[in-house]
């Protein structure tokens, strides 16, 4: 294991990430109850042996709902980040390798889009696309694109003047070879690091959209939506909001810690 992952922070990140990914892949199969099943005799209860994390206003088992909501919450973050990173990187690499007026035009447009705060941008696009899980995912991806394009561009620019790239150009290699075989493989590091931290952010925005009623729709058990639905009962049973709320924070923290450890292990300045 790289050194950065053997620190307390890196190790915690790995542990949280494995928990979160296990829940995302196998959560629905591990749930003890049907997430929509009502247990009228035990409504708004705290943790017990029958219900490990308590029950909500309809007596639904919170642990089962949490496990069923894990895939939609986590894959939302992963999916929107992948799309945003993919599109953003392509734009950034085009700007960085083309240079000249193409670069200038792309950068000015990106600057303009970056001036709109991300959550606001996402809200505008979600309203345009209409609420729902897929639309919200696309909106977050679009909102991430300008930032990722900037990072990809600057990473390409710093590599373009390295000796091995100049050597390839001097050898007379065709430009697609230079871009695909020399520049891209070396520009990928910063992009991967940034995107692993972005996943945390995407999970948080996705849950926020669910909370505002613009993302996942009932009867989904997406975690942000769980908090929104339980809010009016939170003073009668704090677990109804605390369970999904803390789960969101732990998932985001897992990706944050993992991303930071990844950055430390890839950054040669920190490796001594």
């Amino acid at each position: 294991m790289p050194k950065a992952f053997r620190t307390a922070a890196g190790f915690t990140g790995i542990v949280l990430l494995s928990l979160v990914m296990t829940a995302a892949f196998f959560g629905p199969f591990m749930a003890p109850y049907d997430p929509q099943a009502f247990h009228p005799a035990s409504r708004l209860e705290g943790p017990s042996f029958a219900h490990f994390l308590g029950t909500d206003q309809f007596g639904r088992d919170l642990l089962s709902r949490l496990l069923h909501g894990a895939p939609s919450t986590i894959f939302f973050g992963l999916g929107s980040t992948c799309i945003g990173v993919g599109v953003g990187s392509v734009i950034g690499v085009i700007a960085g390798t083309a240079g000249g007026w193409i670069d200038s035009v792309i950068m000015r447009v990106l600057d303009g889009l970056l001036a709109v705060p991300e959550l606001l941008f996402t809200l505008l696009i979600v309203t345009f696309l209409g609420g729902g899980m897929g639309q919200a995912m696309l909106a977050v991806a679009v909102a991430f694109t300008p930032g990722m394009a900037r990072i990809a561009r600057s990473s390409v620019l710093s590599i373009r003047t390295r000796e091995y790239v100049l050597a390839a150009i001097a050898r007379g290699e065709p430009s697609h070879y230079v871009v695909l075989r020399e520049v891209l493989p070396n520009a990928v590091g910063p992009i991967i690091v940034e995107s692993s931290i972005r996943v945390a952010f995407a999970i948080m925005i996705g849950a926020t959209l669910g909370f505002l009623g613009l993302g996942a729709q009932p009867p989904s058990t997406e975690w942000g939506l769980m908090v929104a639905e339980a809010r009016q009962f939170m003073f009668r049973n704090a677990w109804t909001v605390a369970v999904p709320g803390v789960a969101i924070a732990l998932a985001a923290m897992g990706f944050n810690l993992f991303g930071d450890a990844l950055r430390d292990s890839l950054d040669p300045r920190q490796s001594q």
Binding site: A115, V116, P117, L120, L124, I125, F211, L212, A252, N256
Partner: protein
């Protein structure tokens, strides 16, 4: 700092804002639901819709609509709200002041708390204090505003303690105490994530500075540690901190939307959500443009502060 640098930065800001007006206009143009249909409801007759479209100028081509919109903005006219039958400038103006007071209080308290926290962590690297600050900053950076807000409400505004109001707004001119008690929870919610972020940045900058040669030189010549920190290390780690704070203004402007909605704070964020739900295009356009302007200006100001703090910054 040269005048040329200032002029160039100012021109860049104006260019950014021109792009923003295009983007905002494009997004609102393609929003589903024609504004005229929205106002009249689905049962408006075709003639009534057509007449209203003519009155609102919606039948003209997009570039005529764009230029008349921009022309209006330049003379301070943001149009008429479609839902509230008031000039957009009036509606947005009041909300802006309320948001600015909330965001301002959050930002100032964050700066006062986060910078010393980061310095403390860097000076005591590897100790319990550093660990506690580090854990806190990871927790803070991983909680979306609605989770923080919900948990704060649960503990501080619940029937158990009932210390603070769960939401609402009292104008500062009405009652200072009322304003203060209403601003605490939303400002804390906004501040938590920023404090986490900024203190972590200050810590990493400060640690880097503390291991540099000139700090070793300052220590070797026998300066007291206090003086080394205050006169040599701190000034050199402030410029990056200012850069991070200005980036976080963008985050703050997004966070304020959620926080105002949860705490019923009558600011731009709450107005925006209302406008989005009701397809009130002129209000959506005005708020987006306003928030983008604030963000662009805050970046400009931070660039100027950085250039003053750090004479090595080249005005390229």
């Amino acid at each position: 700092m040269t005048l040329g640098y200032l002029v160039r930065r100012l021109l860049a800001v104006i260019l950014v804002l021109i792009v923003v007006t295009f983007a905002v206009f494009a997004i609102t143009m393609i929003l589903p639901g024609n504004a005229a249909v929205m106002i009249l409801g689905e049962y408006g007759t075709d003639e009534a819709v057509a007449a209203l479209e003519r009155r609102l100028g919606l039948d003209k081509s997009w570039y005529i609509q764009y230029f008349s919109w921009v022309k209006g903005i330049l003379s301070g006219d943001f149009g008429q709200s479609l839902r509230l039958s008031l000039p957009v400038a009036d509606v947005v103006g009041d909300a802006f002041l309320n948001s600015a007071s909330l965001a301002g209080i959050a930002l100032i308290s964050v700066t006062i708390i986060a910078i010393p926290l980061g310095v403390l962590a860097a000076i005591n690297r590897g100790t319990v204090a550093d660990l506690v600050i580090g854990v806190f900053s990871y927790i803070g950076a991983s909680m979306p505003e609605f989770v923080t807000a919900t948990l704060l409400l649960l503990f501080l505004a619940g029937p158990a303690l009932g210390l603070l109001p769960a939401g609402g707004f009292v104008a500062l001119t009405e009652s200072v105490g009322g304003f203060a008690s209403h601003v605490i929870l939303p400002a804390t919610t906004l501040g938590l994530i920023l404090t986490a972020h900024i203190s972590r940045q200050v810590r990493s900058e400060m640690s880097e500075v503390l291991s540099s040669d000139y700090i070793r030189a300052a220590r070797l010549k026998g300066l007291r540690e206090r003086r080394v920190i205050r006169r040599h290390a701190l000034p050199n780690s402030l410029a990056p901190a200012v850069a991070v704070i200005s980036l976080d203004v963008g985050y703050l402007l997004g966070g304020i939307i959620v926080v105002e909605e949860i705490f019923a704070w009558p600011g731009l964020g709450r107005l925006l959500i209302y406008a989005l739900e009701n397809r009130d295009l002129p209000v959506i356009q005005a708020i987006t443009l306003l928030l983008a302007t604030v963000y662009a200006l805050s970046n400009l100001i931070s660039d100027i502060i950085i250039a003053i703090l750090d004479p090595r910054v080249r005005y390229a």
